[in-house]
Amino acid sequence: MPVYYLKTPISEEDVRKLVVNDTIYITGTIITARDQAHRRALENLKEGKSLPINFEGLAIFHCGPVVKKEGDKWVVVAAGPTTSTRMDLFEDEFIKNFKVRVVIGKGGMGKRTTEAMAKYGAVYAAFTGGAAVLAAKAIKDVKGVEWLDLGVPEALWIFEVENFGPLTVAIDSHGNNIYMDVSKKVEENKRKIYEEIGVTR
């Protein structure tokens, strides 16, 4: 399986080269955003307010980290991905308006996000759920935090990362979605199991 090392800002052209099952590592700036941060960013857009940082070409990370403050400096203790499907509500608008190129999370995303990724050029990269220390070790610096009033997990954390990964491209910009493929196979397997035990539907 091919391995790519990407640096932010990532261009649409670079992202279009990626296909499902590729492994990527990211160096540069990534931003955490969960439900509340997605909502607020889109509300700001609607009201014509600017964002605290330009998201274009960056990776956003579905993550609510464990952090501690040493002096006036934030340090990341643990930072694995959260379940991405909750962000399906917002992600197509996010990709369209803010031109983020990589969405990092766990558990996959649905049809709306997959279509937006194909249309505007972005990928979904799966980071192993719960692998929070592995992630924290790749975060070299906390460049800032915005919207801390939303609480630590929901705030917008801006991280400087080095070789953040391994990330598996699970949705590419060509309409492929590993989770949907797995789901089809699982349904077939389930039918076979039901036949074996004599469950009729």
């Binding site: 379940t83 719960g130 692998a131 699970a170 797995v182």
Partner: protein
């Protein structure tokens, strides 16, 4: 002994042990899952999991950033003095652990959406009490992740569907959960009771050590069948396809009303955290799950 202080210290240690060091039974099962896996994508996920477990131990950092909702199971001897002090001790331990380990603040007011910031709030931490004869106090903590909690489900099936109705509902729930509860998961199944009893039994069953046979031969058979079926589904580690969808299935049951058959399914993510200790009458402490861990 000052029971409040002793319980607070022990509970603080238990929370710390639980969020940093996965229990031995879970680690062994994950290693076995890695060895048995054949697909490359699945092996990559399990390798990252095993590496992460080692890093957490090395840096004494929480194994997952979602340090969960703190749940306690307290089995109290009826003769233990100061039972009324235990609740406040467990709340204080949770506050201290949030600051010192640290834990992620995970207690949110459902109406104002405000995070309390210290992992406490109305019914948080939740304490499951059991009063037994004797004078020892056993405390178990289960920091329960949100991703797997979101997939927990209970319903009543038509009693006429029998065992196959149970199997169908459990498999259906695992399929529905898919990648979201961070597989390979531990699945707890509670049968019978009212719906409240079923989900309580299902959740408590998550605590039983993996790879230990159920003492009830009927349940043991059902657990094995459900385990085999679940691992034929192909969901795999983190839902990217593969063999290891579950590490274990644990079943418990209660008698039921003739007209209703509650079935509950609880999930725990691969980071299935738990820690237990016993406090004796003289104040001495025995750590049960994390021997040799400071």
């Amino acid at each position: 002994m000052d029971i409040e202080k002793r319980v607070e210290d022990v509970a603080f240690n238990l929370i710390r042990q639980a969020v940093i060091y996965l229990p031995e039974d879970v680690k062994a099962s994950l290693k076995r899952a890695y060895e048995e896996e054949t697909s490359e994508a699945a092996k990559t996920q399990l390798k990252a999991i095993l590496e992460n477990i080692e890093l957490a131990e090395k840096y004494k950092a929480p194994v997952c950033q979602d340090t969960g909702t703190i749940l306690f199971y307290v089995t109290a001897g009826a003769e233990v003095r100061g039972l009324d002090k235990i609740e406040v001790a467990l709340i204080n331990a949770t506050r201290r652990a949030t600051k010192e380990v640290p834990l992620r603040p995970n207690a949110v007011d459902p109406f104002t959406q405000k995070n309390s910031g210290d992992n406490t709030g109305r019914f948080v931490p939740y304490i499951n009490w059991e009063i037994v004869p004797g004078n020892t106090l056993e405390i178990t903590v289960m920091p329960k992740g949100g991703g797997s909690e979101n997939m927990c489900i209970a319903k009543t099936i038509p009693p006429g569907e029998g065992i196959n109705g149970i199997k169908k509902f459990v498999i259906e729930s695992i399929v529905e959960a898919g990648a979201q509860p961070c597989p390979p998961t531990i699945v707890g199944v509670g049968l019978g009771g009212g719906v409240d009893v079923a989900i309580k039994l299902a959740k408590k069953a998550l605590l039983r050590p993996l790879n230990t046979p159920n003492p009830d031969p009927e349940l043991n058979k059902l657990e094995k069948e459900l385990y085999e079926m679940a691992n034929k589904l192909g969901i795999g580690p983190m839902g990217l396809g593969g063999r290891a969808t579950v590490l274990g299935v644990h079943v418990d049951y209660a008698f039921r009303h003739p007209a209703s058959f509650p079935v509950a399914v609880a999930f725990n993510c691969w980071a299935a955290r738990k820690a237990s200790a016993k406090i004796y009458e003289d104040g001495s402490v025995e750590y049960l799950t994390h021997k040799g861990v400071e």
